[in-house]
Amino acid sequence: MNIRTLLAGLFLSASALLLVQPAARGENAAAVPVQGGATALDAQNTKLQFVCAHVGPKPDPRKGSFSKLTGKAQIDPATKSLKSIVIDIDTNSLQTDFDKLTTHLKSPDFFEVRRFPTAKFESTKIEPASGTSQITGKLTLHGVTKEITIPAHVEITDAGLHLSSEFTISRLDFGMTFDPKKVEDKVALTVTIGAKP
């Protein structure tokens, strides 16, 4: 093997790596396909996770998620921008790594899922941006509806929609008043549309 063959081989290998990189990163593969300017959301393509912690020197943050949700995102195909988004969550599908914690979170101390079996987010205004968009909407949780504005990274390509957002809410604002001296008021939420199943 001479030096030319070696350089040609390296060039080809590098080109191949560059070509497959987006797929390898999972961007296009993870995007949710858009048909007719809309895409249906469900637990397969949308992940909704939360993290809450205890008050005090040993926070022991606990992760939770919802395994059942439905929704719809509307997209303007011309401008490739997000027009609206609605997500309905089955609160009884809440799950954590601990059965006892799951039972407690579903109880009237927190989500009260028998009385409030659904939660909902419905956008009212979306300010698109090349970096972080601002999505304003009504979040109904535990029977309380509040307007919130959340930052979101929205990416709409030919492959479809990908959205990721991280934000915090106050559980006390939504009437989940169980022992604020023991459990933090702020709950961190992560929404990912176009997550790998």
């Binding site: 009884n92 039972t103 579903k106 109880s107 009237p108 028998r114 009385r115 169980f178 022992d179």
Partner: protein, 264 residues
Amino acid sequence: MAQAIGQVIEIFGIAAFFALATALGLTWLGQRLLPAGPANRFVLPCAVSIAYFSGYATLPRAFATFSPQTGQAWAWLPYLGLLAAITAASPPPTTKLSIRVILLTILATLSAVALSPIWSVYGFSRIPLAVFLSIYLLAVGFPLQQSPPHSYNRQSLYLLLAISILNTLAIGAIYSTRHAQLAALFAAALTGISIALRFRSKAPDLALSPLAPLFATLVGGIAWLACVEPDPPKPILLAIPLLSWAILALHAMLRLPSAPPRIG
């Protein structure tokens, strides 16, 4: 450990204190103001039901609403407590056991309609669950109906108090603090009664049998809700109120007559 202690303090908080103070005050007043006959009939059921209502009124309104909504069966409990008090106080203590059991059955059926879930439990729909619940509430209250009609027995009251406290702690440990707070209201009311009667110079002429409908509805009822609301259900919680059957063993040990004079 510190967390557990914190939870117990929250469960037996302000609402329980109100229930205790109300029961103590009403029992003390009732014993002094009413003649023996009416006192025997009205004091305990009125003290417990009003104490339960007053404690409930101090819980956060978002949870303890006065107008029950779908999926919020516990909001019926204070009203069922009042209904149970009426059921308990209506017949004189010497009424035939069979009549009192019929009244208890009617109350258990009404309570079952209010407290049966709208979701299925172990594949059973609302009607079979309501039938099961009415039988369960009857089973919880029946042993107490057997208490002697005219003699106060401190040990029996302490036994009921111990069962109520155990019920409260189990619900708090297994399901939710809010439900445990509701269970604590009954335990607190019994504590108030115990304190009021503890410092009497002579044994009061108070029967415990009028407490049967209240015990069945409020102790059995909250245990039922804490059992069927979680998914999966927690049937172990149904066992604790059934410890009321131990009162029959206690009566046997103390050689008390275990039932009113005749049945039928």
